[in-house]
Subunit: 415 residues, 2 copies
Amino acid sequence: MTEIELICKKAKAAAPRLATIGAAIKNSALMAMADAFEASRAAIFEANKIDLAAAEANGISGAMLKRLELTDKKIDQMADGVRQIAQLPDPVGETIEGYLRPNGMEVRRVRVPLGVIGIIYESRPNVTADAAALCLKSGNAVILRGGSEAINSNLAIAKIINDAITPIGVPEGAIQIIETTDRAAARELMTMKPYIDCLIPRGGKGLIQTVVQNSTIPVIEHGDGNCHVYVDGAADLKMAEEIAFNAKVQNPSVCNAAETLLVSEHIADRFLPVICKRLADAGVEIRADEKARAIVPGLKEATDDDWATEFLDLIYALKVVSGIDEAIEHIGKYGTKHTEAIVTEDYTAARRFTSEVDAAAVFVNVSTRFTDGYEFGKGAEMGISTQKLHARGPMGVEEMTTYKYVVTGSGQLRG
Amino acid sequence: MTEIELICKKAKAAAPRLATIGAAIKNSALMAMADAFEASRAAIFEANKIDLAAAEANGISGAMLKRLELTDKKIDQMADGVRQIAQLPDPVGETIEGYLRPNGMEVRRVRVPLGVIGIIYESRPNVTADAAALCLKSGNAVILRGGSEAINSNLAIAKIINDAITPIGVPEGAIQIIETTDRAAARELMTMKPYIDCLIPRGGKGLIQTVVQNSTIPVIEHGDGNCHVYVDGAADLKMAEEIAFNAKVQNPSVCNAAETLLVSEHIADRFLPVICKRLADAGVEIRADEKARAIVPGLKEATDDDWATEFLDLIYALKVVSGIDEAIEHIGKYGTKHTEAIVTEDYTAARRFTSEVDAAAVFVNVSTRFTDGYEFGKGAEMGISTQKLHARGPMGVEEMTTYKYVVTGSGQLRG
C-alpha cells in the first residue's frame, strides 16, 4: 500500500466519526488549534525559514517569497481566522426540508458532511490552517497536499494542529498532510475516488487545469476572476467613479478585483477624463480601446489579450461600448463567471444585467470587491467557486456539506 | 469545426435565451411535444423498426431488445411523462435566500439554469424524450448522445420534438442530438468544457466509468443501487417480511430494489423460515451465508461477489449479522450509497442507522423502492444521484439548476 492509499484509508475511517462528533468537540478543537498557533510561533518560524532559504536559493521572486513568508501578523491572522470559524453556526444536521407524504412517510432532507475532501494547493502555508479548520468545522476529513516550496511550513502547521486537537477527541485521520511533494503523489491522489468525495484545487491556472484534466474525483474549481465594471449611460457618474476605482485599486491582487472597465459611449466624454486621471494618480496603467483613446489621449493601446487577462495588478483594461447590449456581449465573451457589476440608475438596464449576465455574482451599484464569504455575511470560505455544479460563489462551511434523505414510516410498501 | 463543436456552439448560444424564456413558453412547448409524440406514432415505429432489425441481426438479447422496442404503451408513457413535467412548478427564478447586509446591500441567491447539459445514454430511446423535457423545463440547453443501437429511434424522436417546439418560440439549439454514433464523437463531447456545464451519463457501469475517466466537464453520476434491507432484532417481523419482500419482488430490475437482506441473529430463527419460503414461492433465488443456511437448509451458498452485486433480478443475497453494528459495517463495505433501510421498533437502532449509514436515502420501516422523484413528491427525475456533490438522490428539475448571487446597492465600496 502506498503512502497516499494509507492516508486515504485513514481519512475514510475517520469520516463517519467526524460526521457525528458534534459541534462542541469541533469548536473546542478549533479554539485549541488557534491557541496552539499562537503558542508555537517559534516552531512555525523555524520551519518557514527552511522553506524561505530554499526558495531564495532557487531564485524565487519577491511576490512569491512574500506569500511564502510567515510573519507574526500572519500567524495572528491564522489564529483569528480559526476562532471565527469556531464561532460560525454548525452546518451539520440541519433539516433543509421536511414534509409528510400522503402515504404517511415522513421525508426529511438533512445536511451531512461530504465525507473526505482533498485539497491541493500552492505556496501560501496559511492555507493549511484555513483549510483544516473549514473541513473540521463542516465535519469532513481532509487530506492536504501543499506545494514543495512550503512543505516544511505546512508540515509544522499540520503537526501543531494534530497535537492540539487529538487530546480533545477529534479522531485520528481527520486532518492529514501528504509529506511526499513529487507530482506522482498528487496524480495518485487525484485517482483515489473510492476514498475521496471531492477535490478542491487552490492555486494558479496551471494547477487547476492539471487537477481538472487528471482527476476522476469530482472537482470544485476556484477559477480566475476576470471581473468587469460596466458604467451605463444612466449611471450616477460620481458613484461610477467611486465603484470603478474601488473595484480596481482597493486590492488589485485578488480574484474579485475588476480587470476591465466598460463605459457607455453616452457618458464616455464626461466620465473618462475624470476616472482616467483618478486611476493614473493612483498608479494604475490603463490599456484602452480606440474610442477611449480618442477621448483621453496618451492612453496605452489595449490588445485582444488584455480583455481576457486577469491582471491581479494595477492595470485596467478600458473599453467604450455602445450600451448594455455590447457590455453584456463583451462580458459573455471574456468574463470568467465570477463577479460582474453594472453602475446605473436605469431600472430596466439593472434588471437586464442581473438577469442576462451569467456569473456567480451580478451586482448593481456595488463594487465587485464584495464577492467574499465575510462580505456576504456567511463567514470564512474555501474560495470562490466559478463553476456551476454544487457551489457557486463563496464556498463556506455550508457549501462543504451535502444532504441525505431520511425517510421514516410504518411499513410503507410500493404498490 | 467538427459536428460536435458546431452543436456545442449552438447550444451555448441558445442557453441565455432559454434561461429567460419564461414558464409559459416552456410549458406550451412541452404540451406540444407530448401531442406530437401521440400524433407521430407511425414515424416513431418506422424508425424503431430499423433499430430493432439491426439489433436482431447483431444477435442482441431479449431484455435489451425489449428496452429498445417502442410500443403504443411506451409512447403513451412518454407523452404522459412530458405532460407531467409541464405541470411541475418552474424552478427558474426562485429566490432561495435573501437578506440585507448592515451596509445596505441586498443579497439574493436566485435559482438559474445550469446552462448546457450533455447527456450520454444507452439503449432506451424514451430517454430522448424524458431528458429533453426535463432540460427544457429547467431552462437548460441539452445535447443528447444516445447509443448506436437506438440511433434511428432517437433521431426520429428528436425531430418530432424540434418540429413541435420551434413554432412555439423555443430557440434553435435548445434540444440537439448528435447523429454520429462512433466513440470518438462521445470522447470529443466529454472535453467540450468551454460549452457544456454538466455531463450526465445514463446507462451501465461501463458507460459511467468511461465518462468519469475521460470527462473534463463536471459529471453527475447515477451509479448502481446495491441496496440493503436490515431486519433488526427489534423488528416487527410481519412488517419486516412485507418490506423485505416488496423491496426485492415488486420490481427487481430497478436501482432502488434491494439486493441483500441482512437479518439480526436475534430473530433469524423465527424470521428466516418465513421470509425464505415467501421469497422462494415468488421465484426468488436466495444466496445465503453459512449462518442462514444452518437455519434454512438447502439455500444456495453466497460468494463474496454476491455481497457486491447489483443483481437487478429475482436473486437476493442473505446474511445473518450479530446486530446493528455488523449491519452498518456490511453496508459501509458493500453499499453504493443509494438507499439503505432498517426495519426496527427500537428507537436507538433507528436513530443510529439513519445517522451512521452514509447513503443518498436512509429509511426506517419503509421499502427501499420509494427512492424516486415521484414517490418523494418531487416529480420526474433524470435519475438517482449516488454522488455527493451538487445533487444526491432523485435528480429532478430543481437539481438541474444552479444559483447566482444578485446584489443590489447604492454605491457600496469595500473599505
